[in-house]
């Protein structure tokens, strides 16, 4: 929660003061302005309809491909045994990873009181929910018999038989379902006060009614706020270990196997770092166009992006370290199977994929050491696309080269996805975008009430320099961080 603030000339001359991570919004003066400007973003435009329909078409393409696959069998995808997991699992892990940044920004940074999260967390959290919704599809559609997927869920049945809880796949089921439930709950709880605000500010009757229902009769009363703050804190506290655990669990799918290149204790932290890295990339991909098209530059300021870019740079370095560690362990482990696999992965059959991964994930992000690039939205957007590509390839490089070059030389093989794989990959992006599009025009993409916390409240009395004596409590001033000068 914020407190009373006022401008301070000296600080203006300093460079942006990000480390305090308490970024103010100079462009936003009043509460009314917040409600007005956010509510303004909820009017659909032609461009939006165009984007939505494109997304839906992509989704339908993917859906058609999947129906064809269900009818004919998985053989229509590019699997070439022993490469039994292909594009689908790669994309599954990719989307799960995307989700993680959202929870990181909305929950972990909340616990750390990192102010720059305030304006971007809503978009990030929504991204999380939709990314998990997308990821959740893939374990089902990569099944040989998708109509039997519910056998992975423990439920009483007349066969008297249950799932096998030692299997990482069952852990996945629990992890993913938990993650989806918790993050969507977190999103909705955060939305409650905003629904209330929109309910009261919305002129269009239908929407007004809908927001009314969604707001569950939220009244902004002090009683509600008190419990709300608590609950929000605990949800954040739960989400934090969840972020770390979910992708660790996903990484167990591979670390628990004996396949060379999978069987590594490094995987859990390695995957989590990668997940957050890819997620931040996706946040840039999403937030930069939004702040542009929705005229929210004075909400999502360059300072926010700058701070996020530093996080991105950091995770990129972590991921790079993980890559090197993998190579190193593969070499020093002395296991010839492991070694031959690594050689084949980096310099052999799969060199191109490995180098796409290294370039996009380790080399290009180094540019973020330069502040001018960190504050250059065009570059950030371009880079974020590269990061998404690179992180998809990271998963590809981890999974398929391993399977294609295992213990049994007689079964070494190649792998090439087919049109069905690509169509379903496209469909997953369509599905994700569709939901996100629907979200941004119907729900506030910037958290109204949380932004109000950091804009100066209306005061009756002008403040003396050393502070004020309103309520008997003494309120200290805080230096304001300069924002974007446009």
């Amino acid at each position: 929660m914020a407190t009373v603030t006022r401008p301070d000339e000296e600080v203006l001359r300093l460079g942006p003061n990000i480390p305090e991570a308490n970024i103010q919004l100079p462009g936003v003066e009043k509460y009314e302005q917040v409600t007005r400007e956010i509510q303004r973003t909820l009017y659909p435009t032609k461009l939006w309809f165009a984007g939505l329909s494109v997304a839906i078409i992509c989704m339908l393409i993917g859906l058609g491909a999947w129906m064809w696959q269900v009818y004919m069998g998985l053989g229509v995808a590019g699997y070439s045994p022993p490469v039994m997991w292909g594009v689908y699992i790669v994309t599954f892990v990719f989307w799960v990873g995307i989700g993680h940044a959202g929870t990181l920004i909305s929950a972990i940074l909340y616990l750390f009181r990192a102010g720059f999260r305030t304006t971007i967390y809503r978009a990030a959290e929504a991204m999380t929910v939709f990314a998990i919704m997308t990821a959740g599809l893939f374990p089902i559609l990569h099944l040989g018999r998708p109509w039997k997927f519910f056998w992975l869920i423990p439920y009483p049945n007349w066969r008297l038989i249950w799932p096998q809880f030692k299997s990482p796949l069952v852990w996945d089921v629990f992890a993913i379902l938990t993650y989806l439930t918790v993050s969507s709950t977190f999103l909705y709880i955060g939305l409650l006060p905003d629904f209330a605000a929109l309910r009261d500010a919305e002129p269009r009757p239908l929407r007004k009614h809908i927001y009314g229902v969604l707001s569950l009769g939220w009244r902004n009363s002090e009683l509600e706020w008190r419990h709300f703050a608590r609950a929000y804190l605990f949800l954040a506290a739960f989400s934090t270990p969840l972020v770390l655990s979910v992708h660790s669990t996903v990484s167990f799918d591979f670390a628990m196997a004996d396949t060379p290149g999978w069987h590594a204790t490094l995987f859990a932290p390695y995957f989590v770092a990668g997940a957050i890295f890819s997620g931040i990339g996706m946040v840039f991909t999403i937030i930069i166009p939004i702040r542009r098209w929705f005229h929210l530059k004075h909400y999502v300021t360059l300072n926010h992006l700058d701070a996020a870019a530093k996080l991105c740079l950091f995770t990129s370095l972590v991921v790079g370290t993980a890559y090197l560690t993998e190579f190193f362990i593969g070499w020093i482990g002395g296991n010839s199977m492991e070694q031959s696999y690594w050689w084949n992965r980096v310099f052999g059959q799969w060199w191109w994929a490995a180098w796409v991964m290294l370039t996009c994930n380790c080399v290009l992000p180094l540019t973020l050491f330069v502040q001018r690039l960190r504050r250059n939205t065009t570059w950030l957007f371009t880079l974020s696309i590269f990061i998404n590509l690179g992180m998809w390839f990271e998963r590809f490089v981890i999974f398929d080269p391993s399977l294609s070059h295992e213990f049994e030389p007689w079964q070494w093989t190649r792998y090439a996805p087919t049109y069905v794989d690509w169509a379903i990959l496209l469909g997953s992006f369509g599905w994700f975008t569709m939901w996100f599009m629907l979200f941004i025009k119907n729900f506030p993409v910037v958290a109204i009430s949380e932004v109000k916390e950091i804009v100066p409240p209306p005061l009756r009395t002008p403040h003396p320099v050393e502070g004020i004596e309103v309520t008997g409590m003494r309120l200290a001033f805080e230096p304001e961080t300069p924002g974007e000068r446009d």
Partner: protein, 207 residues
């Protein structure tokens, strides 16, 4: 106030639903039908996903009671391979005609019942004359991925009635047991009769 009470109903309903699922799921494994559900035509739908109680119309209304109770024939006389093969064996038409060459459709009055004409025997003889087998409608059926063998069960002393019910009293045979996997397991672990305990891992039946 009233509003809040309404809300309280919702979780209650949810709980009820869960309980219902559990119950319906388990009934399939254990319940024994006391009433015969009459012909349900094509089978495969019931709460316990089992055609339990199904009793289709047969081409010949074969009276088991007459043959087993009145005439005291043994099951193995007609179902000749139940004790030496996975398959119980259906009597060849020739087997029936062994007696029914002599015992024609015109039945004289006996033990209290008036003289009558037996449709069944007539039909049987028609089939025999046309050298056609009798197209009996299958009642007890397990899916093809279940390798159920009669022989070991008979040799373990499991009676026919254990799984098929009191067929000797059925004027029209119906499916007595659910034939669900849970029902099989229930007996294999020895709940029905400790003497009948048997292996209960998957590869006993599924291969």
């Amino acid at each position: 106030m009233t509003k809040r009470r309404k809300r309280a109903v919702v979780p209650g309903l949810a709980a009820l639903a869960v309980v219902a699922v559990v119950l319906s799921a388990y009934t399939g494994a254990t319940q024994q039908p006391d009433t015969v559900i009459k012909d349900r035509g094509s089978w495969g739908y019931s709460a316990a996903s089992s055609p339990q109680g199904r009793s289709p119309v047969q081409p010949i209304a074969f009276p088991h009671p007459t043959h087993v109770q009145t005439l005291g024939m043994n099951c193995l006389y007609c179902h000749f391979s139940a004790n030496k093969s996975p398959d119980p064996g259906m009597p060849a038409v020739g087997t029936c005609m062994g007696c029914h060459l002599v015992i024609g459709p015109n039945r004289p009055a006996m033990n209290g019942r008036p003289a009558r004409k037996s449709e069944g025997i007539a039909t049987l003889q028609k089939y025999w004359a046309q050298k056609k087998p009798v197209p009996w409608v299958r009642i007890h059926h397990v899916p093809d991925y279940v390798n159920f063998a009669h022989m070991p069960h008979i040799n373990a002393g499991v009676t026919c009635q254990t799984c098929h019910g009191q067929v000797q009293q059925m004027n029209r045979v119906y499916q007595y047991a659910s034939l669900n996997m849970g029902w099989c397991i229930n007996c294999h672990v020895g709940n029905v009769n400790p003497k009948w305990k048997a292996r209960y891992d998957c590869s006993v039946c599924h291969y």
